[in-house]
Amino acid sequence: MKNKLKNFNFFLFGSMLALIAIGTVAIYSAGHARSEMIFHGMWINNLSTAIFGLILYFMIAMTNYRKILDFFSVPGYVLAIVLLIAVLIFGSTVYGGKRWLWFFQPSEISKLFIIMALSWMLGSDFFKKRGFVLFLICAAVVGVPSLLILAEPDLGTTLTLVPATLLMMLVGRVWRRGLVVIFTIGAISSAAILGAVYEAEKPDCPSQRREQIMKYVPLRPHQIKRVKVFLFPDEDTLGAGYNLRQAKISIGSGGYSGKGIGKGEANHLKYLPQAISMNDFIFCVYAEETGFVGSIVLLMLFGALLLPGAWIAYQSKDATGRLLSLGISTLIFAHVYINIAMSIGLVPITGLPLPFISSGRTFLLTIMLGLGLVQSVSIHREERI
C-alpha cells in the first residue's frame, strides 16, 4: 500500500476533483436557467455519480491495469458490441438519435472498451508483425463499433474516437507508412469537402452550379447546414446559425472576469439553446459567468489532467500502459478541444460533451473509469504480473 501511494499521481487526481467541482457548479447554473424543475436538481445527480465514480476510480487504480486488461478486454469489447446493437433495437429516441438504453448511453462506455481492447492487443506479444494485416485487424476492432455508433447516429462520439485510436496505432507502430498516407488522404478530402461547400454556398454562386457541386459532397443535409454555419457564421444568425451566434455572444459577453456565477444572461434568459445548454454548450454557460479568467483556469486544469497522462505514459515501462494512458488522455483531449473549439466557431458544431463539465452520467463515469486506469498505470508501473 505504501508503495502504491508513492506512485500515486496527485496532479491527475487533483485536477479531476477540481474539474468535477467546476462541473457541478456549471450544471447547477445551467439547470436553474431551465423552467422544468427536474433540471434544477441535476447537479446533485452529477455529484452523486461522481462520488460513485470515485469509488470505482480507486478500485481500478489500486488494481494492476494489466490484470484488468487481461481479464476484461475481450469480454468488455464483446459486451460493448452487444450493447451497441441493443441500443439500435431497443433504444429510446432523444433529439432524433437512438442513444439511450435504459439509463445510460452505450456509445460512451464503448469508447473506453475500444481503447482498452486496442491497448491490450497492441501491447501483447501476440502481434509481433506490425504491418498491413495488423492494421486491418485494428481497423476492424475500431470500425465495427464505430459504424454501430454512427448508425445511432452519433457523429461526435465517432469523431473523438478517430484521433484517440489513430494516435494509438501511430505510437504502436502499426503500419505507420500506410497510416500517414491515410491521414493525409483524410485531411485532403476534408479540406476538399470544406472547399466545395464554400464554393457552392458563396452568395454569388448560381443555383445550377450549387446543385452540381452538392451532388458530390458526401454529407447529410443537416451536416451541410453545420458546415455552412462554420464557413459563414454571420449569415442566418436567427436560423441555422443561431446556436453558434448565441454561443459566441454568451462566451464573448462574459468578458475578462465574467458576469458572476448564476448571473449569465444568455443562459438565464434562455438565449442559449436550452436543450443543449447543459450538455454540448455548457462551456458557454461557464465562460459567460466566469469570463476569460475562468476559461484559462479551466484550460489549465485540463492541462493538469492531460500532461500527467503523457507523463505517466513516459514513466510506464510497458507498451500496454503507455498505449492505455495516451489513448485515454487523447480521447479526453479530443472532447475538450472539439467542444470548446466548436463553441467559438473554430470547428463545425458537433454534439459532444465537455469532460466533467457537461451533465451526463454515462460519460462522467466513463472518463472517471478511464482515468482510474491511467492512475493504475502510474501506480503499477514498476510491477509485473
Partner: protein, 586 residues
C-alpha cells in the same frame, strides 16, 4: 521489457504532450480574442437582443385660460395590467389561451367584462410582449376593492396608477382645446432609438394636437430585460421623464361660455378676439362635442353618434368653416373704393334693384333707399350702391383690398385649423369653373356674394382691423409676441367705414346689437346660398367695441338664420353685454 518499451517510444509520449499543450494554447489564444478583444461587441450584441428601450412620457401639461383656470388637466386613474411572462407556455397559442383564461378569471372576480378581444391579446403576444398589457383601464372604486381583496390569487396582474386627461368645462371650448387619445395597444412600435413608445396621451385635435410636443414635456427612458422569447423579466428606469409645462392660453372661459350659450342649439360659429394684440378670447363652433368622451378612448356608440350627425359636431366652423361673407364684406368694398379715390360723398340713387345686362340684383328694401352716400349705404347695407361701386372701381381694387385685410390666406394663428378661404379672380374662376370673368362677378363680389369664401376668424380679424387700423395675427398661446400690420389706408378713409359701422348699430340694420354701456360698431350680413328649394341664408354679424377704442372684435355666423340684423346681431349684443356688463340685457 526493453523490447516492449521500444514499441512505444519515449518520443511518442513527448509528442502527445506537445499536441495536448498546443491544442490548449490554440484554445486559449482564440478565447482571448472572443472574451477580451471582442468582448465589447459581444456585449453590445447581448444587450441589443435582450434589452428593450422604452420611451416614457412625462405628465402632460395643463391647458389654462388667461386667468389660470384649467381647461384641460389630469386626474389619477387606476388600471389593471398584466405581465405575460407569468403565463408563458410552450407555444404562443397556449400562452394566448392562458392569458385569455386568466383574464376571464379576474373578470369574474371584479365583475366587469374584459374589453380585450382575442385578437388584441394575440397582437400583444406577437408585438408588445415586453410591455405590460392594460386590461381594464380606469376602473371604479368597486372593482378596485374587489381586485385588491383577491389580488394574491392573480399573480401576474397588478393595479397601476396612470394619469387620464380631463376637461373640467366639458363641451365648452371643445373645438379650440381639442382632445387627446391613445392607441388601444398602449405602446407603439418603435423606431431606431426606442423599441417602444409608452405614451400616456397623444393630442388628437385642437390645441392638444397643435401643442402636443410642448405639453408632453421631456420623455424619459425605461429599459426592459427580455428573455429569448421576448417576455419581460425585469425593468428599470434609466432616465426619469419630466412633466410638460402648462400651456397658458389667451382664451377667457367666461367669454367662451357666453358665446356658446348664444350658439346653443344652432349651427354656426363665433370668434372673439382682442384687436389690440390678436389674443383669441373665444373660438366657438356649434354644435360641439364633449372632449371627455374621447378619454381614454372614444366608445363605438359615441363615435357613430359623432360621425353620423349631419350637423358635423366635430367640424371646427370658427376657423375651418368657409362661408360667403355676405354684406359684412361691404366694409372691405368701401375701403377698396376709398383707397383708389372714389369720393365718399358721391351719391347713388337706389331704386331697389341694380341692373347690369341681363342681371338684376335686388336691394333688401324693395322700393329702394333713394340717394345714398357711402356712410348711409353701409348703414342700410344698400346692395345697389355697392354693386355700382364695385362695377365702377373694378375687380382688382376689391381683390387688393380683400387681400390686404387678410382674406384668401391663412391668418397665421398658432392652431391647426386655419383655412385660407377664397378670394376669386379671373384665373381662379377659369381654373375651377372653366368660365370667363363677367362684369356681374365683380358686382356680386362687391356685396360679399358669389365665389368669395371666408372664415369667421378672418372676419373677426377684419372687424378689429377696421377699429384699430392694424391687422393682427391671432394667437392662442399667451406668451407669443404680438404681430400686427398697419393697414395701408388713410385715417380719414377708415373713419368713413367706422362711421358707417357705428351707424349700423345706432339705428341701422344692426340696431339690435346696441348696448347702453359701450358704443358698438358693427356690420350685418345675410349671405344667400343655393337656389330654389335649397336656398338658405347664413346670417352674419361682425362688430368691435368700444367703438372709440376697440378692445373686443367679434364675428359670428349662424347657418340658416333669417337675417344678420334679426338673428345674429342680438346674439353678438348678448356676448358683448357679458363682457362689458349691461343692465338692460335682453
Amino acid at each position: 521489457m526493453k523490447n516492449e518499451v521500444s514499441i512505444v517510444s519515449d518520443l511518442s509520449c513527448w509528442a502527445s504532450a506537445a499536441i495536448y499543450l498546443m491544442g490548449l494554447v490554440v484554445l486559449a489564444v482564440n478565447l482571448k480574442e472572443v472574451q477580451v478583444e471582442d468582448a465589447a461587441s459581444y456585449n453590445y450584441a447581448s444587450a441589443r437582443q435582450s434589452i428593450r428601450r422604452v420611451e416614457t412620457d412625462g405628465l402632460r401639461g395643463k391647458i389654462v385660460d388667461r386667468h389660470g383656470r384649467d381647461l384641460a388637466t389630469n386626474r389619477k386613474s387606476l388600471s389593471i395590467v398584466l405581465n405575460a411572462a407569468q403565463f408563458q407556455k410552450n407555444s404562443w397559442r397556449a400562452t394566448t389561451d392562458e392569458i385569455e383564461k386568466e383574464i376571464e378569471r379576474v373578470a369574474k372576480c371584479i365583475g366587469q367584462e374584459s374589453p380585450l378581444t382575442r385578437k388584441s391579446i394575440e397582437r400583444h403576444v406577437s408585438q408588445t410582449l415586453a410591455m405590460p398589457l392594460v386590461v381594464w383601464r380606469d376602473i371604479g372604486e368597486e372593482e378596485l376593492a374587489r381586485f385588491s381583496e383577491h389580488d394574491r390569487e392573480f399573480p401576474g396582474f397588478k393595479c397601476e396608477e396612470t394619469d387620464e386627461r380631463v376637461y373640467p368645462y366639458g363641451s365648452v371650448g371643445s373645438h379650440v382645446i381639442g382632445y387627446v387619445g391613445r392607441d388601444r395597444g398602449e405602446s407603439e412600435a418603435g423606431d431606431e432609438k426606442f423599441n417602444f413608445h409608452q405614451l400616456e396621451m397623444r393630442g388628437r385635435s385642437g390645441l392638444e394636437i397643435y401643442y402636443d410636443s410642448y405639453l408632453r414635456g421631456v420623455s424619459g427612458e425605461r429599459k426592459v430585460l427580455v428573455d429569448a422569447r421576448g417576455f419581460a423579466i425585469k425593468d428599470w428606469v434609466v432616465v426619469e421623464s419630466k412633466a410638460g409645462p402648462d400651456l397658458k392660453t389667451t382664451l377667457d372661459i367666461d367669454i367662451q361660455k357666453a358665446v356658446e350659450k348664444e350658439l346653443k342649439g344652432l349651427v354656426g360659429a363665433c370668434v372673439v378676439i382682442d384687436p389690440r394684440d390678436g389674443s383669441v378670447l373665444a373660438l366657438a363652433s356649434a354644435p360641439s362635442y364633449n372632449p371627455n368622451d374621447f378619454v381614454p378612448i372614444l366608445s363605438k356608440e359615441l363615435y357613430a353618434k359623432y360621425s353620423k350627425d349631419p350637423k358635423k359636431p366635430l367640424l371646427n366652423r370658427a376657423s375651418g368653416g368657409a362661408y360667403a361673407p355676405g354684406s359684412t364684406f361691404k366694409t372691405v368694398t368701401a375701403l377698396a373704393g376709398l383707397s383708389i379715390g372714389y369720393p365718399q360723398k358721391r351719391t347713388y340713387e337706389c331704386t331697389g334693384v341694380f341692373k347690369l345686362g341681363g342681371l338684376s340684383l335686388h336691394c333688401a328694401r324693395r322700393w329702394g333707399h333713394g340717394d345714398m352716400d357711402m356712410r348711409h349705404a353701409l348703414r342700410e347695407s344698400c346692395n345697389p350702391y355697392f354693386c355700382n361701386l364695385g362695377y365702377e372701381i373694378g375687380t382688382n381694387a376689391i381683390i387688393r383690398a380683400a387681400k390686404t385685410m387678410g382674406l384668401g390666406s391663412k391668418t397665421g394663428i398658432d392652431f391647426g385649423v386655419d383655412i385660407a378661404g377664397v378670394v376669386p379672380d379671373a384665373e381662379w374662376k377659369e381654373a375651377v369653373y372653366h368660365e370667363k370673368w363677367f362684369p356681374g362677378d365683380v358686382t356680386q363680389m362687391a356685396i360679399g356674394q358669389g365665389m368669395l369664401l371666408v372664415s369667421p376668424l378672418q372676419m373677426a380679424r377684419i372687424a378689429g382691423a377696421i377699429g384699430t387700423g392694424y391687422l393682427v395675427t391671432p394667437r392662442l398661446k399667451a406668451d407669443i409676441p404680438t404681430r400686427k400690420q398697419k393697414l395701408p389706408f388713410a385715417e380719414w378713409q377708415l373713419r368713413v367705414v367706422r362711421d358707417g359701422m357705428e351707424m349700423v348699430v345706432d339705428g341701422g340694420t344692426g340696431k339690435k346689437a346696441k348696448l347702453s354701456s359701450v358704443k358698438v360698431a358693427g356690420k350685418t350680413g345675410t349671405a344667400e346660398i343655393g337656389r330654389g328649394a335649397t336656398k338658405r341664408k347664413n346670417t352674419w354679424f361682425i362688430a368691435y367695441a368700444p367703438a372709440d377704442d376697440p378692445v373686443i372684435a367679434v364675428a359670428m355666423v349662424i347657418e340658416n338664420g333669417d337675417s344678420g340684423g334679426g338673428t345674429t346681431a342680438p346674439k353678438v349684443r348678448n356676448v358683448l353685454a357679458s363682457i362689458f356688463g349691461d343692465d338692460n340685457e335682453e
